[in-house]
Amino acid sequence: MKTILSCWAALLLPALSVAQETEEPRPSGQAVVDALDGELGALRSRYGDALKELRASDAYKAADRARQRELSSGITPPDPKPFVERALAAAEQREGDERVVLYIWAALHSSDPEQVRDLVARIEADHIRSAKLVELMENAMALWRVLDPKKATAFVTKVIDESPHSLARAWSLYWMAQSMQRGRNATAEAKEKAQELLAQAEKLAEGTLLADKIAGPRFKEERLQIGMVAPDIVGEDLDGVKFKLSDYRGKVVVLDFWGFW
């Protein structure tokens, strides 16, 4: 009896442990991205604080330029490379949108142009219709910085032509317009074309932050001139308490768009 039982156990146990391994929930691509953001973000803010502390120190203030540079170079910014590698390793274990999220994170954080080119090529080949592309297109300006402008334009054009997601198309049109009207060499024709793209983007993005962003200059012109009643702002403070600009009627108000950064 005993031997039979232990035989059963011997047969069952490996099967059980295999089942447990496969059932262990794998974090979603987004969860991996959030973890990477958290870790890298913490390192970056520590780096920023260390620099600030150095610059505020008496030793730094008293030093000459060359010595100051030397002191600053002792504090190095965090290297994104190991984080990008982790994102890519996680991407290989996932498929579809789960993978795209990780590719996009890697592309937006990598400092290696070759790697970014490769990732964009993979996204272009296999994931051009993914809903997750919104995240990449929202930051598409970064592509023009890293890729050859022709390549960046070709990729963004493909998203505009093939993505079924209006917001991905809208951001693509937006950055395409920016790239056309930027720089001293932009012709009047290019600027006109850019305005057309922006109008298309605004329509596609209706009701979103992007539409507001595109309409911003017009809003300023039409609603924010001296002598006009300021449009209300409804929002919340940094403690999460809701309030409105119009709560302050009856007081003189300085509105200050600012930040520590």
Binding site: D212, A230, V253, L255, D256, G259, F260, W261
Partner: protein, 102 residues
């Protein structure tokens, strides 16, 4: 910039005046720590996790930071882009106007 605004708020604490920020720091915990260190006593709308790309500044077409508007007690935009002493003068003028019943 922050020390100037802090002293303006302090000087006018008994007046019908408010300095309201639209703060574009991405991280609220970071903000709190720095606000504490720098003695930020005034209230801000939070522009959200996209920082300077957030909803309020996008809607208002803000391109440069800081951007400043001064409103009178009826909510009318009276000055734009006034910084440092100019900000104090603008606020003082509007408070005086308000007291005259203008």
């Amino acid at each position: 910039m922050i020390p100037h605004e802090r002293s303006l708020v302090e000087r006018l604490k008994d007046q019908p005046f408010a300095l309201l920020g639209i703060n574009s720091d991405r991280d609220k915990a970071d903000y709190r720590q720095k606000a504490e260190e720098m003695g930020v006593t005034w209230r801000s709308f939070w522009n959200g996790p996209k920082g300077t790309g957030g909803p309020i500044s996008s809607k208002w077409g803000v391109r440069g930071w800081p951007t400043i508007y001064v409103l009178d007690h009826e909510g009318v935009i009276r000055y734009q882009g006034v910084r440092g002493e100019k900000m104090d003068e603008a606020v003082d003028a509007l408070l005086a106007e308000m007291k005259k019943g203008g």
